[in-house]
Every structure is written in C-alpha cells, then in structure tokens.
C-alpha cells in the first residue's frame, strides 16, 4: 500500500552495505540528566541499544522511565549528558528531515490545508513544486486522505489527523521514523486500524521505526523487537525479539492477537513490567 513512488525510491538512502548493518542505530552508554546540582534527575542511566536497518523497535515501560527522553535524544532535541547516539556510525546532529518524528498529539499546522501540511517538509527543504506534489499525492492517496486534501486539519477526525502527521513525516523520505505514543489518544477500534496501516507501511517500505507505546499488545503486534525499560533511573531491562510482525501472509489482526503464541509473548512482557512494580 504505502510504498514510495518510483522516483522516490531512488533517493532512499538504502544500500547493500546498509542492509546488514547491525549497528544502524546505536545508543552507547547514553546518560541523560535534567537539572543541575541537588535537583539533578537522571532520566537515562547508561542506555546501550543497537538495532539494524529495517527493524521495528518498540519501547515499553512504566510512565517516567525515560522513553520520550530516549527518542528525543535520537531525534536531536536533547544532547547526551554523556555517551553517544549514532546513526550509521555518525553521532546524531540537530533535528533534521532524515529522522521523521510523530508525536502523541499530531502537532499539525491548522493554517495550512491537509495537502500543504503533508508537503511542509519538502517545501521547507526547497524541493520543487512538481516533485513535492507527486510525493504528497502518493502518500495522501495511500493514507485515504486524498479527498480531504483541500480541507484543514481541524476538519479531520483524530485518526485522520494522526495519519496526516505520519504522511507529513514520510513525505521527507526519512531513514528513520520516530513515533512517541502516536496512537495513545485514539479509540480502541481506530487504534487497531492504525496499527494495521502502520504495519503495512513498514512491510512495504522496509523503513526503520522506533515506536514508543504504553500498550504491550501494540508493541508485540507491531515490533520486531520489544525493549522493556525500568524507571528511576531509566534502564533497559530486557530486549525481546518478537516474530509476529515478520510473519508471512496478510493475516487478520484479530487472529494474530488471539493466537496462543501472541498471548504468551504478551504475558511475558507484561510480567516483566509487573515484576518491576512489585520490587
């Protein structure tokens, strides 16, 4: 469904060398502290995590364990107190279009039409009108927003707004997509539909995605890896490889979530999180 248009696939920074790079993204001994002196809060304590291109990494953990902080560091909004965050072996710089970001609240621009919102990134980067229009049309059609292109964001439902925020990030052809609880504000049904759509995007583009969620079920359904974090100070408790996202065939989302394997994995992750709560 959501594959890039042919003219777009060419400038995608994928390569034979990159495909097998296990350290495509690397957090190395990352420490993030907020405040100074007595009021220093250590949000992340020596986080180390690497993953390859094409992975769908889901981060779960109790509130305040540093998930957002981790993502913001990779996005470039925060600088490490110590340690490093690298993409393709190079330390990440300031925020840029190579790392698309989707927030819990869509953060769209209500003064721009749906189409102009989707094309905001290419327009800022000085991409030509024709090329921008082509990319935007492609993603809007695939996200089911094409009929709404002349509308304004406040005329869309919550789910449509979040789809538009994802389209906006994808229109830049980022090599990494960072999502911070993107479906947290949606109702259960819309949320499952969005999960299916995002899964489709990932399957067809091979995009590398870092995805933060409070829903263990969502993480186990979407992720190739589920990273479980513990709070105060934020640490990685365990990284679990999950098979469901890569399973062949267009299986029904309810069938997958109802399967014994899925339930067992979900319970395992949940018991890890519960284990922390009882300490």
């Amino acid at each position: 469904m959501l594959s890039p248009p042919s003219s777009v696939a060419a400038d995608r920074p994928a390569g034979p060398a990159g495909e097998s790079d296990p350290d495509f993204v690397a957090f190395r001994d990352l420490v993030i502290e907020f405040g100074t002196g007595e009021w220093t809060v250590r949000a992340l304590d020596r986080i180390s995590l690497t993953f390859a291109r094409g992975e769908f990494v889901c981060i779960v953990g109790p509130s305040g364990c540093g998930k957002t902080t981790m993502m913001q560091t990779l996005a470039g909004f925060l600088a490490p107190t110590s340690g490093r965050v690298e993409v393709e072996g190079k330390p990440v710089g300031p925020p840029g279009p190579d790392r698309g970001v989707v927030f819990q609240q869509p953060a769209l621009y209500p003064w721009l039409t749906v189409e102009a919102n989707a094309g905001f990134g290419p327009r800022m980067r000085g991409i030509g009108r024709a090329e921008t229009a082509e990319t935007v049309a492609h993603y809007l059609k695939l996200a089911g927003l094409w009929e709404f292109r002349a509308r304004y964001p406040y005329e869309l439902s919550g789910g449509m707004q979040q789809r538009l925020a994802i389209v906006r990030a994808l229109a830049n052809h980022p090599r990494l997509l960072l999502m911070d609880e993107p479906f947290g504000a949606l109702d259960a049904l819309t949320r499952e539909k969005m999960q299916e759509e995002l899964h489709g995007v990932w399957r067809r583009t091979g995009m590398t995605i870092l995805f933060i969620t409070h829903s263990v079920e969502e993480a186990v359904y979407l992720g190739t890896q589920v990273v479980v974090m513990s709070p105060r100070p934020g640490r990685i408790l365990e990284t679990i490889a999950v098979p469901f996202a890569r399973q062949a065939g267009d299986r029904d989302i309810r069938a997958i979530k109802g399967s014994a394997d899925f339930v067992a994995t979900r319970e395992r992750v949940l018991s890890l999180i519960w284990g922390m709560a009882h300490d």
Partner: protein, 259 residues
Amino acid sequence: MATRSPRPLVWPYTVLSVATLLGAWTLVTVEGWVSPLFMPTPLAVWRGFFDLADSGYNGVPLGWDVTISLVRVFAGFGVGAVCGSLLGLAMGTWKGLDAVADPFIEFLRPLPQLGYLVLLIIWFGIGETSKIMLLFLTALPVTAVAARDGVRGVPEQRVQAARALGASSHQIFWFVILPAALPEIFIGLRLAIGLVYATLIAAEILAGSDGIGWMVFNAGRFLRADYVFVGVILIGLMGVALDRALVLAERRIVHWAGR
C-alpha cells in the same frame, strides 16, 4: 466547508428591542414628559442630521468631522498596531529585547491615555501630531503584549515538528511562529481599535478644533441636544463598523482560531 448547524431565528428579537426603544423615546419626548433640552424627539434628531449633513456645524461640514476623525484613527491605530505587533513578535523571539522593552510597555499599558495627553501637547503642540502620537502610544503596548504572548504560547511540539521536518530558524519564524501567533495578534488589534477610538473621541473633546468628538462637545456647550444625539449615534455606529470590519478580517485570515 464546515456545515452550519441550524441557528434559531434571532433577528426578530433584535428588531423588536430596537423598535421598543425607539417607541419609548418617541413617547417620552412627544408627550413632553422630558424637556427637549435634555432629550430631543427622534424627528428632531433626524432633522438635525440633515441640517448637519447639508450645512455642517459651525461652518465645518459633518463629512469633514467624520473623515478627520477616521483619518486620525487609521493613522494612529495603523502605525501603532503595526509597530506594536512587530515589537511584540520580536520581544517574544528575543528574551533580551523583551527584558529591555517590557518595563516601558508595562508602564504605558495601564496608564490612562488622557493622563499624558497634556505632555504630548506641550511637546508637539495642539495639532495633529500630538493626537496621532497619543493614538500611536495607545495602540502600541496592547498590540505588543498580545503579539509577544502569541509567540510565547506557540506549542513547543509545533516548533519541534518543524525542526524535524527540516525547517531552518528563519522558516520556523515565518511559517510556524508567525501564523501560530496570528490569532493572539488579532485579539490585540481588536482591543487596540476600541481603545484608540475611545481615546480619540476624548482627545478631540479636550484638545480639538474639529472631528466628531469635538463637534459633540461643542454642540453640548450650546445646548444643541439634537446635534449631540446625532453625534453620539454616529460615534456609536462608527465604533461598531470599525470593530465589525476587524472581526470580518479576523474570520477570513485566522479561520482556524480556537480550533
């Protein structure tokens, strides 16, 4: 575009209330319950309006009084609001400038305009300069504070999203911060036009030789209640028109405000 929900019919009530007032006015004046010295009949006001429109007041045509008042409003409000909004945008963007300008703005804002009119007259004389300066100083702080608060109120995530989409600082200002602050800027403009207009009328009464405010005051001194009524009604209608014009512009330009 957005579907409009069926609104209850309200205009008959508006017509009814205005008609009631006119009726009461006619009754008390025609029956002579109130002396015409205090309150002329509606018909006398109507005649007074045509008197003034035909031959002017004290040799000054009514059209001139209205025009000169509007010119003062537009000059003072226009320059003051543009400067104030730009200053506010800059103050919201640069903390240093805010620290420098804030004490003056905060001092000027609650200061009654007529309190320093005398100073302006001493400095600039009784002519147009002091009046337009007064209106400029009236519009400036209100619009500056609104624009600054507008910039400060831009949600952090909107800026973060723009940065992650590849926008430069300049682009973020023009394409994110400025539009995001526009609804607040418009609130400032509406506050300012009301203040400027009220200040102008008072200034014309205190230190004028023409203008609609001066005309009303002067007619009052000669106990021409009919002319005073014409003037007051005109002042009211012009004020409503100025505000409506801004509301219309606001609805067109910041259609997303509050959504």
